[in-house]
């Protein structure tokens, strides 16, 4: 348990732990925000694990949460041959929606909805994540392309942990 980690494998290991909780919660009757929070953390840490492994230069890597939408679809496509164009498009849209679940990523105030903190919507009403349905992202995740996305996330984490010298 106390094996030494470098930064990439540490991020990948934590991503794997977050994904296990996402999967555990998936069939449980708990608010969507709680489930989605673990999916957001999984994807962020996987993307950062890969970027750290490949020494991608970015001073904000340890502090910013906006590291899912751009890199993650590319990473999944890189490791998985023959992803259909429609799935690629789905992955990009889904990855951006997952990124927006972090409270600090709000598309310049246009998307205050997030899975952690209450926010005020465009009509001035205060919204609570635990009471919010997250309809768009739940639909995206549960479609076949969304399940494909989750499967590839899981495979990529496993590959990063199993053969770090090749990832």
């Amino acid at each position: 348990m106390n094996q030494p980690f470098d930064w990439p494998s540490a991020f990948a290991a934590q991503a794997q732990a977050d994904l296990a909780i996402w999967e555990h919660l998936s069939s449980m009757d708990v608010p969507q925000c709680q489930k989605l929070h673990f999916l957001q953390m999984t994807c962020e840490k996987l993307a950062k694990a890969f970027l750290l492994k490949e020494r991608n230069p970015s001073p904000s890597l340890h502090t910013s949460h906006a590291y899912i939408a751009k890199p993650l679809p590319r990473i999944l496509e890189h490791f998985q041959d023959r992803i259909s164009k429609s799935d690629q498009k789905h992955f990009r849209f889904l990855a951006r929606e997952i990124e927006l679940l972090a409270p600090s990523v709000d598309d310049n105030g246009k998307r205050p909805d997030n899975c952690e903190y209450p926010w005020m919507d465009a009509s001035g009403q205060i919204r609570v994540p635990a009471e919010h349905a997250f309809v768009v992202i739940v639909d995206l995740v549960t479609q076949p392309a969304g399940r494909h996305f989750i499967k590839l996330v899981k495979n990529c984490i496993r590959e990063l942990l199993a053969t770090p010298e090749q990832c």
Partner: protein, 90 residues
């Protein structure tokens, strides 16, 4: 995808066979989160024999990049536009 440009490394780095292929992609569907080069290693067992770097930006970020409000890292510069095969005469 609107346009793809080559990115050139500084000095004679492009003559090094180990230098990755670097592309700047202008994509209206991506998010405006700045310059984030994504290094993708070669995976010979999967038929990917060249390492590459992708920098994906929005059209608005492209304008900022041209105006030097955004910059590429490592002294990289924007190179030639890669022709779109769909727009080439048969």
């Amino acid at each position: 995808m609107l346009e793809i440009f080559r990115i050139s490394a500084a000095g004679n780095a492009e003559a090094d066979p180990k230098e990755p292929i670097k592309l700047l992609e202008i994509n209206a569907d991506t998010s405006a989160t700045g310059i984030l080069p994504i290094y993708l290693p070669a995976l010979p067992d999967k038929g990917i024999t060249f390492p590459s770097v992708i920098v994906e930006i929005t059209p608005q970020e492209s304008v900022q990049l041209r105006a030097n409000a955004l910059t590429l890292p490592n002294g990289w510069t924007i190179g030639d536009l890669i022709p779109n095969p769909a727009e080439c005469p048969q």
